[in-house]
Homo-oligomer: 263 residues x 2
Amino acid sequence: MTAKTAMSEMTGTTTKRRAVLRGALGAAAGAGLVTAGTAENASAHEHADGPRIGILLYDGFSLLDPTGPAEVLSRLPGATVTMVAERPGPVRTDTGDVAVVAERSTAEADRFDVLLVPGAGERGTVGSINNPALLSWIRRVDRHTQWTTSVCTGSLILGAAGLLEGREATTYWASRDYLADYGATYVPRRYVRSGKFITAAGVSAGVDMALYLSAHLAGETVAQALQLAVEYDPHPPFDTGSPDKAGPELQELALRLLAESQT
Amino acid sequence: MTAKTAMSEMTGTTTKRRAVLRGALGAAAGAGLVTAGTAENASAHEHADGPRIGILLYDGFSLLDPTGPAEVLSRLPGATVTMVAERPGPVRTDTGDVAVVAERSTAEADRFDVLLVPGAGERGTVGSINNPALLSWIRRVDRHTQWTTSVCTGSLILGAAGLLEGREATTYWASRDYLADYGATYVPRRYVRSGKFITAAGVSAGVDMALYLSAHLAGETVAQALQLAVEYDPHPPFDTGSPDKAGPELQELALRLLAESQT
């Protein structure tokens, strides 16, 4: 139902507003669902029959890396998205400003249809690469996934876990030389699929990758509808989003701004 | 410093990895900063001299609406990003899957240079529109902001607070007919500026808006570098991100997927 058709069915203003918003924004129609506590709803989701998506969080991750894909993937029919970290509870980003809650610990959650490993600044990336328990968990989860994915320097973490040997992959533009350390070949694309592995380029590329993954999980029509659902019709004010387009001075400034913003 | 120049300075492998990642990913170089606890760093940020950015969270918000802009704006020189809600602590998204932590309560935080109000599904949007205390807080904060901004249906909340009367604005595509209820004129653009108000279209449009806002806060060169910092060189697999491009069938499916994903 579109906003227009919803509107044509309405009368009084309050009714109209609620009904149009329901049509337009698509909240659950049942009053029971609307008034139930969110924790119970989150639990109820776990028995849905869509893909179980696990997203790893770790101290110093970059905020958009997990949240962009989560926004898209959480709309897949029947999907559950679970944020996982070594310890449940708030996990803080590289800038120290924001924390996202890990709902489950790695000890209690290791079966997912999709695993997504986000990227980070140096502290978070090196911390994960040098964390054998975390790498072991990634390998354990990967044994049962349908898709194992990453955003930004998350591919270096997949690489450190030994999962990208002999594969094509991508990563953050400034970290591209690193994939070779793990036997992977860097491909300068927005996302790169190799078997069941899909790696995305830096930060915002996770949104593009999530749409591509959605097409594999639920078909192209659903993925196309999800692109509209998140109104992803990008028109940034500049065209400096890749190192080639930006040039060396902006590359240097970008890295300095990142350095200064991180804790 | 680019990854290439960083690499040319390195020797032993471990040193090389850490140093290249430092160069490439730009974490703080000082060991003290790297080892200090994140909470302390977050506090230290509050005395930085860049823009103080306040982002409102409320039950049922859409995850990407605040996190996309936060990823960009937190990299502005000296910026602090503070997530604020009526009660501090975890605030859950519309799907119930994910929670972001509000660091401050509205009672204790009402002075910001930039206010950003995210959007939500019906439950979160109507809940905020019908929350006089929240609307009053928005008006109070707006009195002192340099910029008051929104993403997606956040503009309806700004409208309900009485801030968009007589202004051009944008919102989520499916909610466009609603802006007129608040005396605003809908403009189908990625983001719309009217005076100190900047409203963004749905969900992912917040990233585009944040880059535009960054140019106003710190100059075009910094904003262009931030676009590269988050590698925002969009190449989604489809071209269905606006209602016109998607057509009526995908519009209906998008709204159904949203409805079914929300609690």
